[in-house]
């Protein structure tokens, strides 16, 4: 079976010498202007360890150094060359459009958690304790105000960063002390400027702990946004 790392442009370029999973050499399947970079395996790798995630990731990053790459979701496998060629042909236009969107760009991730006031991430407090609400009305209004505070802080951090990016994806907050979780599609040359902006925002918001990671392959930006709207990858329960 065939393990797929990414779908790339520049099929004319030689493959990197770097090895893939289980030390298998990299190979490729081509369809016109598209190249799927793969490794071939006799036994399906079904239960990977944490290290194999990095092995996979390093292959994608190595490809990214010289091409536009659509990174595959980890675990993307096909039975044989024919199956893969069929996918490339059927979705050729979408893939080429997606490659245009990510060429020369990287993904930066941002996570923001609550922090105790005055500390620069030195301690993360849970939802700040307030005097217990006296009435049901107080309870609801309290929640409403808390929600607005969170939204305001999240927007104060997200909006300026989104302005520095070509595109961005926000996810719903995953826990009570998470303020923001987002990915930004940024030009390679714009990384330093983005980092400076994060630094400035951190200084401006001592009540938040801001983490920025990357550069990553563009995992969050390979799907067509309109298609995303129809079939979201994350649940939309109560998402704003």
């Amino acid at each position: 079976m065939i393990w797929v790392y990414g779908i790339c442009d520049r099929p004319d370029l030689p493959l990197p010498r770097r090895r893939g999973l289980a030390q298998a050499p990299l190979d490729s399947v081509r369809a016109d202007a598209l190249l799927a970079v793969i490794s071939r395996h006799v036994h399906p790798p079904s239960e990977p360890a944490l290290d194999s995630l990095w092995v996979h990731e390093r292959v994608v990053e190595r490809l990214m150094a010289e091409r536009a790459v659509l990174p595959m979701r980890f675990g993307s496998k096909v039975d044989d060359d024919e199956a893969l060629t069929a996918v490339l042909e059927v979705r050729q236009r979408a893939f080429l459009a997606a490659l245009d969107r990510v060429r020369g760009r990287v993904e930066l991730g941002v996570r923001v958690l609550r922090s105790s006031a005055g500390g620069n991430g030195s301690a993360v407090a849970a939802v700040p304790a307030v005097t217990p609400p006296a009435t049901g009305r107080d309870y609801l209004l309290g929640k409403l105000q808390e929600g607005k505070r969170v939204d305001k802080t999240a927007a104060a951090i997200h909006d300026p960063l989104a302005a520095l990016a070509v595109d961005s994806r926000r996810q719903p907050q995953r826990s009570a002390d998470e303020l923001l979780r987002a990915s930004y599609l940024v030009e390679r040359g714009g990384i330093a400027r983005f980092r400076s902006a994060v630094d400035r925002l951190q200084t401006a918001h001592p009540d938040a702990a801001i983490l920025c990671t990357g550069p990553w392959p563009t995992y969050s930006f390979v799907e067509d946004p309109t298609r995303l709207a129809a079939t979201p990858g994350t649940p939309t329960i109560g998402a704003r």
Partner: protein, 116 residues
């Protein structure tokens, strides 16, 4: 070749809260979750409470939106609020009774993300 730590471009001094997710992931990845009876029962409690918590949060969000939109009389707002407040405190009691933390209620559904 750079190391994983190089991926941290801007990072606060205390990284623990940002690494919290990994503890649960690591348990799953190394198969450390055992199927003894106590764990199974706890796992069930976790699942049930998570679903209840999910519903509670959905209802609460709906109520908050309705209050925000206006058009509800005072008595209704009060009734909604009191009920939700009671639900929240009941959830706290249940969590304590089962010794389950907030984080554990947030089931990881892989590509679906967290449940809550």
């Amino acid at each position: 070749m750079d190391s994983p730590a190089d991926k941290l471009l801007n990072a606060p001094l205390d990284l623990d809260p940002f690494a919290r997710d990994l503890r649960r992931l690591d348990d799953a990845l190394t198969g450390r979750v055992r199927a003894d009876p106590e764990n199974v029962e706890r796992g069930l409690a976790q699942l049930v409470l998570t679903i209840i918590e999910l519903l509670r949060q959905i209802m609460e969000r709906q109520a908050i939106r309705r209050v925000e939109a206006g058009g509800l009389d005072e008595a209704t707002v009060e009734r909604l609020g009191s009920t939700l407040m009671a639900l929240e405190s009941r959830m706290e009691e249940l969590k304590q009774a089962f010794g389950i933390e907030d984080e554990e209620l947030n089931l990881d559904l892989g590509p679906l993300g967290r449940l809550l």
